[in-house]
């Protein structure tokens, strides 16, 4: 039937992999390992991979991972703009008020694109 776009994502990633195909496409990373960051509470209609339980919580950058289009863009095939991704580490107690005091060192790590983070 109709012709679809052959220059789509699959072509960009062929022979390189994803997210390797986006190396060098983002502006310099705004945060580094050890930085304290707060997760923004941006609107979350239609699509996001920013887990709702993390919003407003403060954590520490554990790993600066890779460059890629943000999920909110890539979910509609927009791959022209990339940003850095970070693994952020939270204290469980900071996420779940009812978390038992017996385990104060328990942490949780999850990943965010740069737009979701602000300096504390």
């Amino acid at each position: 039937m109709s012709q679809h776009d052959r220059t789509h994502h699959a072509k960009i990633a062929t022979g390189k992999g994803d997210p390797q195909c986006f190396i060098g496409t983002a502006d310099p990373a705004k945060f580094k390992v050890g930085d304290r960051v707060r997760i923004k509470n941006l609107p979350d209609i239609f699509y996001t991979r920013c887990q709702v339980y993390s919003r407003g919580a403060v954590g520490e950058v554990a790993v600066v991972t890779h460059e890629s289009p943000a999920p909110e863009d890539e979910a509609w095939g927009h791959v022209d703009h990339s940003e850095w991704f970070y693994i952020v580490r939270f204290k469980q107690k900071d996420l779940w008020p009812e978390y038992p005091d017996d385990f104060p060192n328990d942490t949780l790590q999850t990943e965010f694109s740069e737009r979701w983070l602000e300096s504390v």
Binding site: M1, S2, H4, D5, R6, T7, H8, H9, A10, K11, D18, D44, I45, F46, Y47, T48, Q51, V52, Y53, P69, P71, E74, A75, W76, G77, V79, L95, W96
Partner: protein, 146 residues
């Protein structure tokens, strides 16, 4: 149309009524003043963002491998190779666009299959008419009595 079809349709309407999530306390198409910001966000959130939701403990069970699941997976990968979608578009269609009821109610690879059909229609690769006719043709092949 046979009476069997009518019975099937009436059973279907009962089944749909039983699926209505309890959150719909305001009834159908409420006045805007009945929808607070909090309620709006609860309605419009991504259904796959389940972390932190109130729930009962899950019982762990190992799912048995089924060939149709692998075929569903390979089908969606082929669609990516041909540039029909990328992984993030697939996740949106199979985890979010179908809504909470289908997300929680359908088997894992059932959602993969459903999203593959959806992207082919949305992307104008097949028409919904072609898809409906094909499903009907295959159904009749397996249940010629209908």
């Amino acid at each position: 149309m046979s009476s069997t079809t009518r019975e099937e349709i009436l059973r279907h309407l009962t089944a749909v009524a039983e699926l209505q999530p309890p959150v719909q306390k305001t009834g159908k198409a409420p006045y805007p003043t009945e929808i607070t910001h909090e309620l709006f966000r609860a309605y419009t959130r991504s259904p796959h963002d389940v972390g932190g939701e109130h729930d009962i403990p899950c019982e762990w069970s190992e799912e048995e491998h089924e060939a149709w699941g692998s075929r569903a997976y390979v089908t969606t990968e082929c669609l990516a190779w041909r540039g029909v979608w990328c992984a993030e578009e697939r996740r949106r269609m199979q985890n979010v666009d179908l809504g909470t009821t289908q997300y929680l109610g359908l088997p894992y690879y059932g959602r993969w299959l459903l999203s593959a059909a959806r992207v082919l229609v949305d992307g104008h690769h097949v028409t919904l008419t072609e898809l409906i006719n094909k499903i009907d043709e295959v159904k009749n092949r397996h249940e010629p009595a209908r």
